[in-house]
Amino acid sequence: MTNALEITNLSKSYKGFHLQNVSFNLPTGYIMGLIGPNGAGKTTIIKTILNLVMKQEGSIKVFGLDHQKEEVAIKKRIGFVFDTPAFYPHLNLKQLKNVVAPFYEQWDNAVFDDLLDRFTLPLNKPLKQFSRGMNMKASIAISLSHHADFIIMDEPTSGLDPVIRREMLDVLRGIMQDENKSILFSSHVTSDIEQAADFITYVNQGQVVFSKTKDDVNESFAIVKGGNELLDTNTAKNFVAVRKGEFGFEALTADLNASKKIFGEQVVYDKASLEDIMFFHNLKFKSTN
C-alpha cells in the first residue's frame, strides 16, 4: 500500500504554540479526518504540508516526494480548500477560472462546468455576492477541476448549513470512486468526519493523540458508566479521563477489552462518539496542564 502523505516527527514552534513530533500516514485511496479543538494545530499541519508554513524539524512526503524539493510537481497534483475562501471579490467564477486554470496543465473545463452545474453555482455573478456555502462550493469546484490526486481541505464544512454539508460529503464520496484519490480534511464538526473518513487523526495541543482507522477507533474507544464505588487509583488508570457525578462516573476508555476484564458486567459500555473522545481527551489535557 502506497502512502499519499507521510508525516514524520514534524515540529514547528510559534510564540505560545508548539507542534511536537507529529507523525502519521495517509494511504492512497482513503479519506483521513483531522480532528481536534480550535488551536490544536490542524491548520498549521495543513499549511506545513502545502509549504505555506515552514517546518522546523521532521519530514513531509507527498506521493513519496519531499514536499519542499518537489513543491511544484506535488502542488500540481493537489487540490486545496481553505476555511476562508480568499479570491478577488469583484471577479465572477468565469473570470476566476481564467485566472486559476493556467496554473494547471491538467485543468479540465468540462469538469469545472459539470461541478458548477451540480452545485448550481452561477458563472457570471461576482463572488462578493456569494454566500459562505456558495464560496465554499466554488473553492471545491476549483480544487477538483484539475484532476487532483490529493485533496486537502481545512475546515471545509464549518459554518455551513446541514444540507450543504451533506452535499459536500457526497462530493467527497464521489471523488473516492477513483481509488487513486486521497483526501485529508480537518474539521471540528465530528459528525462529518464520522460519516466520511476512513482514518482519523486526532490532534490536541500540537500533538497527535492517535492516528487510526475509523474501525479501530470504534473498537478501542468506549464510554464506561458505573458507580463511584468501582473507581479507585488502579481502576481509574484504565481511563483516558473520568467525569464523576453524584450518582456515578462516566469515563472514556481507550482499551475496551481491558476495561471489560476489569469491570465485567458491573458497568455499562456505550459507543464513544468522536465528540466524546475529544471531550475526554481535553479533560485529560486540562488536568495534566
Binding site: K47, Y88, Q95, F103
Partner: protein, 224 residues
C-alpha cells in the same frame, strides 16, 4: 511564473482601465494647463508622474492584500521564488505601461485641436529618470513588504525612507565644500544627462538585483 504575472492583469483589467484613464487625464491636463498657465514647473510634473506611476505599480500588491489572496496563490503550483520575481516583474510592467500612458496622453493632447504644449515633457531623460526613480523605490520597498506584509511593511519602509531623506539632508548641509564627497557629488551631477542617466540606470539595476535577492531569501522562510 508567467501565469503569476498574467493573472494580475487578467484579474484586475477593469480597474486597470479606470487607472489608465485617470493617468491619461493627469498628463493631458498638465499639458493643456501648460498652454494656459504658460509656466508649469518641470519638477512638479516629474513628481506627479513618479508618484502616480508608483501608486499604479503597487496596485496588484494592494489588491492581493485586500483580497487576502496571498495564501491562495502560494498554494498553487508555484515556488516562493517565482512569486517574488513575479511581483517585481508585474510591478515593473505596470510601471512601464503607466509611464507609456502618461507619454501617450502628452502626445495625443498636443494635437492641433487642443493646441497644447509639450516642451520638456517630450525629453527622453525625464522619462528615463522617472523610471529609474521607480525602480529604486520598488527596490527599497519590496523587501519590507515581503518581510512584514503590505500594511506593516509600508509603515516600516516609510520610516526607513524618512530616515534616509533626513540623513541625506543633514549630510548635504554639513558637507565640506572642499571635501572629497562634495567634489564627487558635484562632479557626478554635472555630467551630461546621458552619462548621468546611464550610471543611475546601472546603479538601479544593481540595487534591484540585491533587493530581489533579499526578498527571495526573506519570503522563502516566511510563514503565511
Amino acid at each position: 511564473m508567467l501565469s503569476l504575472i498574467i493573472k494580475d492583469f487578467r484579474a484586475q483589467k477593469q480597474y486597470l482601465l479606470l487607472l489608465f484613464i485617470m493617468i491619461a487625464g493627469i498628463s493631458a491636463g498638465f499639458n493643456i494647463a501648460q498652454r494656459v498657465e504658460a509656466d508649469i514647473e518641470v519638477e512638479l510634473y516629474i513628481l506627479t508622474v513618479v508618484l502616480s506611476t508608483l501608486i499604479a505599480s503597487k496596485l496588484f500588491t494592494l489588491f492581493d492584500y485586500q483580497a487576502n489572496a496571498e495564501l491562495f496563490f502560494a498554494a498553487l503550483p508555484v515556488t516562493r521564488k517565482q512569486m517574488v520575481i513575479a511581483a517585481y516583474s508585474s510591478s515593473a510592467v505596470l510601471a512601464i505601461v503607466t509611464l507609456g500612458v502618461h507619454f501617450l496622453a502628452i502626445v495625443l493632447s498636443s494635437t492641433e485641436l487642443l493646441r497644447a504644449e509639450h516642451t520638456f515633457m517630450y525629453e527622453a531623460p525625464m522619462w528615463i529618470f522617472a523610471f529609474v526613480a521607480l525602480v529604486l523605490t520598488d527596490a527599497f520597498s519590496f523587501p519590507f513588504s515581503f518581510k512584514y506584509g503590505l500594511a506593516k511593511g509600508s509603515f516600516v519602509y516609510g520610516c526607513f525612507f524618512i530616515t534616509l531623506i533626513i540623513t541625506a539632508i543633514v549630510t548635504i548641509n554639513t558637507l565640506n565644500p572642499t571635501g572629497f564627497l562634495y567634489t564627487w557629488v558635484t562632479a557626478f551631477l554635472k555630467q551630461s544627462p546621458v552619462m548621468l542617466i546611464s550610471q543611475l540606470t546601472v546603479f538601479g539595476i544593481i540595487i534591484l538585483g540585491i533587493s530581489i535577492f533579499i526578498s527571495i531569501h526573506t519570503y522563502q522562510g516566511k510563514d503565511l
